[in-house]
């Protein structure tokens, strides 16, 4: 006799495990199924381990390039690459264990194994060898199986020389040179990390700017900063072929009509992700899949099959951990029958953790113009911030985009120190429908970097004090 649950969740990433805890809080008898450690890509092979690596890079960058600015001299500065990697792996391991504890504390049943839907209410559990070990019943099922790096035929990933982000954060030795294909957040973060450690990095981006989703001005500022670091960057560049020959990978690109041949010890393919939709019995149940992602109703997250829901990366962009978590909570609350406002997909912050950091929420200047708004734009450079001066991080600026008609904050873009932390204020401002006055009239502590936000808002209306 198989066990019965109110709710089964397939996949223990930031979508699935968060949904499981919320479900348990709401009184659902919940089971969470994942073959690996909990936390998904985010905690195991994404957000957290890369943030650990980037901190190493940041410290080394500061010591190597800026210690003299602070009157500190360091002789014989060096690092142990394997220890850098180990620190990242250790953090990942500990944090996923904490999630297991959290799940236990919340009385969610945890099944380690590969789950496959055999009917709309049954999930069979397989072990690594493919043997059925268990079968459970559930009234409702949430699929939160996430996504994996996308493959393209021109870039044949072999997980050794041509790799994905998973391998790139776990190399046994530091590559001498590295070509990164794709200048989204993942590509950019690895570029910063390896270039600081001394790897010769080349970035190839198909679109016309790096960090294509970000505001053009931000992207251009980052481009300059990266070029200054010695990172070679090709935008509007199409990869025609990548092949491994001996110890090297050769990459042919077409850049502004010119053929360019690049070679490096390793190539990182960071050109997007695709949903994990295969092997879970979805096709057999007739669950609608579109472009490698499960199609859902974005009010309820229900698929076309009643009682089966899907959240997170497996339902498509924006492929962000915080969005998956939010969708998980929303989905479970909807099942509970709570009356909810749908998630506002126009108010999702995005962060890139290179130096200078990049963070944004809402519309870029171009998108706001395309949407027909008349704009009031305010900018404030960290160069003019006392705090930035004091801490020696004067690169970058805050750019706020307001609708001239009603004063609505349409978009906020920050490049510079602690940008990823600073963006929270603006996300809240947006969700609370704050206007420029709200920001300007809110007292910001001095000296802080956050004053730059207040100044940028004031600047949009010609009231900035410090520029």
């Amino acid at each position: 006799m198989s066990k019965s649950y109110d709710l089964a969740i397939l996949g223990g990433g930031p979508g699935g495990y968060v949904a499981a805890i919320r479900a348990s809080q709401l009184g659902f008898n919940t089971v969470l199924i994942d073959k690996d450690n909990l936390g998904g890509v985010c905690l195991n092979w994404g957000c957290i381990p890369t943030k650990s690596l980037l901190k190493n890079a940041e410290i080394f960058d500061l010591m190597k390039n800026h210690s003299a600015d602070f009157g500190i001299s360091i002789q014989g500065l060096s690092f142990d690459f394997s220890k850098i990697i180990k620190r990242s792996r250790d953090i990942s391991e500990k944090i996923t264990k904490n999630v297991e504890l959290l799940i236990k504390k919340n009385k969610v049943t945890r099944i380690r194994g590969f789950g496959k839907l055999s009917s709309k209410n049954t999930i069979d559990i397989f072990d690594e060898s493919g043997k059925v070990t268990d079968s459970i019943n559930a009234e409702k099922i949430i699929i939160a199986t996430g996504a994996r790096p996308k493959n393209f035929p021109q870039i044949p990933v072999d997980y050794k020389k041509i790799v994905t982000s998973t391998e790139a954060m776990n190399f046994s030795t530091q590559p001498r040179d590295l070509i990164i294909i794709g200048a989204g957040a993942i590509g950019i973060e690895f570029a910063y990390f390896y270039s600081v450690l001394g790897t010769k990095v080349t970035i190839v981006e198909m679109l016309e700017q790096i960090l294509p989703v970000e505001d053009k001005e931000i992207s251009e500022t980052l481009l300059k900063s990266f070029k200054k670091r010695g990172i070679e960057i090709y935008t509007s560049a199409k990869v025609e072929k990548a092949e491994v020959k001996g110890d090297e990978v050769f990459v042919s690109i077409l850049n502004e009509g010119k053929k360019i041949e690049l070679k490096a010890e390793k190539v990182l393919s960071a050109i997007g992700v695709m949903g994990n939709v295969e092997g879970f019995g979805l096709e057999e149940l007739g669950i609608e899949i579109e472009k490698n992602h499960i199609k859902v109703d974005k009010q309820t997250y229900q698929t076309n099959v009643e009682g089966i829901f899907a959240i997170g990366d497996v339902i498509g962009p924006p492929w962000l951990a915080h969005v998956a978590s939010s969708e998980g909570i929303h989905c479970v609350e909807t099942i509970k029958g709570l009356s909810l406002q749908p998630i506002d997909y126009d108010n999702i912050p995005g962060c890139t953790y290179c130096i200078p950091q990049v963070a944004s929420v809402g519309l870029t200047e171009q998108k706001a113009l395309d949407a027909g708004y008349k704009l009031k734009i305010g900018k404030f450079p960290f160069m003019a911030s006392g705090k930035a001066f004091a801490v020696g991080e004067r690169e970058g600026f805050v750019k706020l985009i307001f609708d001239a008609k009603y004063g609505e904050l349409l978009g906020a873009h920050i490049i510079g120190p602690e940008a990823t932390e600073l963006i929270a204020e603006l996300t809240l401002a947006k969700s609370m429908e704050a206007t420029y006055e709200s920001i300007v009239k809110t007292i910001h502590a001095h000296p802080t970097l956050s004053e730059s936000i207040m100044e940028a808002a004031a600047n949009a209306y010609g009231e900035s004090i410090h520029i």
Partner: protein
């Protein structure tokens, strides 16, 4: 699994629904899509099916209760375990709840007359939580016909206000609830779950009250609502007052009005809310040269009636001049003695008496049109237009005016005038009129072109009495004399009354007034 059943949102501008009937009881098994209850809303009545198979374990809202959209009304256990045993107990609890409910008196929109189907709440004199005495005024309404004040039928506490000021509500619909017991308006209780407890009886009776409370809180604390800076900016830019904002239902966290709510409202021509504001808060435009003032209910009705009359009738106006010397000197002499008797004798009393006589003579003036038929009234209900300060006009009529003499008419005129000014008219006073007199002469006007009070076919305008030099003929000799003169203007509906009849009618009135038989008074 416990699944909450909520009051569904039945349409864009619907924010609450009244639970009319439960089709299932606690403990009943329900199939998915089986009807569990019926609701009635502003727009539609509908049956609500179960979203799941299961057992109805909890009912939180009783029949006839009105709750906000999104309120949990019941809970279904989809596993259906260990529920049946508790159903009896829960049933009892619900019954108890009903008994408690019986102490709450519902105050409906009163029926103010045969053809009056709805009324607009103009003003609440009491707020939720206020103690009310029997016969104490709790709110004021305005209808098609009259404005009036509605007193409380009992002593008690105003528990709930279901409609805000300026809402128009159908007759018979509950607009407020008065509790005769001691249920405190501020009671807050956690919603119950199915976990049984003996002491639960009281508990179970309160959640629905609590839900209702939230509804009032929304209604009565409107001025404390939070509006985001952006919403306020948009309101300012679009010329929307705070009062108008308060009429728009928010969909944000905690019912907050969001940017999108407001933009949608504006896009829909600002009609999405319950009614347009008619509170007298004014707003000035950018250069502050134009004051924009929303019309109050009375003004809107007058506007509608005037346009309607001009649309229906073909107005023609004829004017005559009357020498009122006889009446003038009679009044001069006798006004005091009459006023000692409590009769306020005026020109209007004589004119009214004369008009009644004329209507008897020319019955086609005392008629109305019904399709291709003419309805000739065998009685005279004589309408007298009464100006009501500061900005109103109403036409009550004197019933059976043809059975009254001059004194009787004088008393009736004074009576309906007083009652119109003090809002004491009853709807019957304004219904079934057959002809109207309007006395703009009291404001000094010499003559005007009055508008017919539908469905009548004539209206007589009375101008001011002024002394004038007139030519009189006596014994074949013309001479000039000073006489008190008055213009009368008759607007008649040319569809039915032609110039000949109008002229004859007017001339009859003139001659009768000039040669008034004073002995009959």
């Amino acid at each position: 699994m416990k699944v909450d059943i909520v009051m569904p949102k039945m349409g864009e501008s619907i924010y609450e629904g009244t639970l009319i009937k439960w089709h299932k009881n606690i403990g009943d098994r329900v199939k998915k899509d089986e009807i569990i209850y019926e609701i009635s809303t502003d727009k539609v009545d509908t049956e609500i099916p179960s979203p799941e198979d299961g057992v109805l374990t909890e009912i939180r809202v009783l029949e006839q209760d009105t709750v906000a959209v999104g309120t949990v009304v019941a809970i279904i256990e989809t596993n259906g375990v260990q529920v049946e045993s508790k159903s009896e107990e829960l049933k009892k609890e619900v019954q108890t709840a009903k008994q408690v409910d019986n102490e709450v008196i519902e105050i409906p929109m009163p029926k103010m007359g045969e053809s009056v189907m709805e009324g607009t709440i103009i003003k609440w004199h009491k707020k939720v939580g206020d103690k009310v005495k029997q016969d104490e005024i709790i709110f004021e309404i305005s209808t098609d016909k009259v404005d009036t004040e509605v007193p409380s039928p009992v002593d008690g506490t105003l528990e709930e206000i279901l409609f805000v000021e300026n809402d128009t509500v159908a007759v018979g619909v509950t607009v407020a609830k008065i509790s005769t017991g001691n249920i405190s308006a501020s009671t807050q209780t956690k919603p119950t779950s199915i976990e049984p407890a003996k002491e639960k009886k009281l508990d179970n009776s309160i959640p629905q009250t609590t839900n209702n409370k939230q509804l009032i809180a929304n209604n009565s604390q409107l001025t404390n609502k939070f509006y985001s800076p952006l919403v306020l900016n948009i309101a300012r830019a679009e010329g929307i007052s705070i009062d108008e904002l308060e009429l728009i239902q928010g969909t944000g966290i905690g019912g907050r009005l969001t940017k999108n709510d407001l933009l949608n409202y504006i896009q829909k021509g600002r009609s999405g809310a319950t009614t347009t504001s008619n509170v007298g808060i004014m707003k000035t435009d950018k250069v502050q040269r134009v004051e924009i003032m929303p019309m109050d209910n009375t003004r809107q009705r007058i506007m509608e009636h005037m346009i309607k009359s001009k649309d229906i009738s073909v107005h023609v106006t004829a004017v005559t001049e009357v020498d009122v010397s006889k009446i003038h000197y009679f009044l001069e002499k006798n006004r005091d003695s009459f006023s000692k008797e409590g009769v306020k004798l005026t020109y209007l009393s004589f004119i009214a008496f004369t008009v009644v006589k004329a209507l008897k003579e020319f019955s086609l003036m005392n008629a109305s049109i019904d399709g291709k038929n003419i309805l000739i009234k065998k009685y005279v209900n004589l309408g007298i237009a009464v100006a009501v300060e500061p900005n109103g006009l109403i036409v009550p009529n004197i019933k059976k005016a043809d059975e009254k003499n001059v004194r009787g008419l004088a008393k009736s005129i004074a009576d309906i005038g007083n009652r119109a000014r003090t809002k004491k008219l009853v709807p019957e006073d304004t219904m079934d009129g057959t002809f109207t007199i309007t006395n703009y002469g009291v404001f000094g006007s010499l003559f005007g072109t009055p508008i017919i009070n539908q469905p009548e076919v004539g209206v007589l305008g009375v101008g001011a009495v002024t002394k004038k030099p007139v030519v009189i003929e006596s014994g074949g000799l013309d001479s000039i004399a000073i006489k008190p003169m008055m213009y009368l203007s008759l607007s008649h509906d040319h569809r039915l009354v032609d110039g000949m009849l109008g002229g004859k009618f007017l001339n009859f009135v003139k001659n009768t007034l000039e040669n008034f038989d004073i002995s009959i008074i």
